[in-house]
Amino acid sequence: MLTEAQQMTDRIRGNECSIEELTDCIRRGGLLVRTNALEALVIHAQKKEDLIDELVAAASDPINQTRLMGTVSVAHVAIACLLRVGTSKSFEKARALIQSWPEPDRTDLIWYLRSENLPVK
C-alpha cells in the first residue's frame, strides 16, 4: 500500500498524469493522493477555466473535511489551490467559500492560508 501510494504520488507530482487521471484521483483517492492531485490540477486550471469548478466541488465535498495534518483538511488545500490558480473567477470562488465556512474551521482555514502566504482577503 505504501509503495503504491508513493508511486502514484510521484507520478502526480512529476506531471505524468492526464487531467482525467487527476480528477479520478481527486474523486476516488486517499487523502494524500487526493491532495497531490488537487495541487497538480492548479496549473491546468490556469488554462482551462472549467477545472476551477472541480476545485470548488472538492472544497465543498464533506468527505474532504477529513483532517490531513493537524487542523488542515483536504478542503482547506482545495481552497488554497483556488487561490493559487490566481484568476478572477478562482479568487471569487475562494472568497465566497471562505466567507461561508463555519467556525471554528474557518479560523483554522485562515490560519492555514496565511501559513502558506496566500491572500486571505
Binding site: M1, L2, E4, A5, Q6, M8, T9, R13, D24, C25, R27, R28, G29, G30, L31, L32, V33, T35, N36, E39, T66, R67, L68, M69, G70, T71, V72, P104, D108, W111, Y112, S115
Partner: protein, 287 residues
Amino acid sequence: MMCKHAEYYIKTSSRCFPVLESRQEITAAEMQSLLDATDRGTVWGPTATLFFGASTLDEVVAGIATEAQQYRNLRSRDRGALSRSLLSDTDFQKMQSALSHEAMNADVAPIQRAVNSWSTVVGAAGTAARAYNSLRSVSIAPGRRGAFLSDADLLRARLGPAEVSHADEYASILRQLREAEVDIDFRPGSLAYSPTRGGPGRIILDPDASMGAVRHEFRHFLDIQEAGFPGMGPYLANPKEFWRLEFRGYMEEINLARQLRDFETGRKIVEQMRARRLELLQIPGGW
C-alpha cells in the same frame, strides 16, 4: 476493605433508588447490578448522585456541590483510602460501564460545569482525582462533544485528563512548547499539531486530553522540529515519511496502553491507526 468514611457515601447513594427505578434507559439487569454494588458499598456517593440520584439537572448540580464540600471535609489520608478501595474494585469498573449508558442519554453541559467545579476541589487529592476523572470522562459520551475527540482520544476513559493523571509531564510538555514558541490553542473537542514552514507551528489541545493524546501530538511536534520545521509540503510529497510521522504518534498511545496493561484499548488504537493508514494511502482502484 472500605474505609469508615465510605459508609457516608453508601447512605447518600441510597437516596437514588426511586429515581433509578424510574429510568427506562437502564435495563433491569444493569439496575440490579447497580443496586448490588451499592449494597456492597462499592458505589461512590458522587458517582451515584451524578447520574442517578436526582430527577432534575439542578438537583444533580446541587448534589455535586454538597458532595464536594463533604469530600473536602475528609482528612486527606481518608480520601486516599476511599479512592484506592474504589480503584481496586472490579464492581467499580462495571459501574462505569453502566454510567456510560446513562450518560449517553443526559444533557451533559450543566453536569460538566458542575464536575469541573468539583474537580477543582479534588484536584489536589491525586488518586481521588484520577478516580473521579475516569468517571468524568465517561460523562462526555461519544457524540456529545464531537466524534473526533471520542474517536481520537481512546485513553481518556482510562486515564482522565493528562493535567490530572500526569501533572508533571503535562506541565513539562506545555513548557517546552511555549519555549519553542508554538502557538497553543486550548479547544474542547480537538487534538492537532499543524506544522508551518520555518516556524514551530500550532498545537490544538482539548483541555481534558489524556496523556496518550498529548504525547501523540507532542511527538508530531518533536519529529517535525527535528526535521527543521519544513512545513507540510515535504510530507505530502512523501507518503512514506508522512506515514512514519503518523505511526510514531500512534505508537506513543499504544505504548502507554501497554504500560497500563490495557490491551483492549491498545487494540482499539491499533485499529484506529490502521483506519488512518487506509484513509491516507488509498489509491483509485486499489484495495
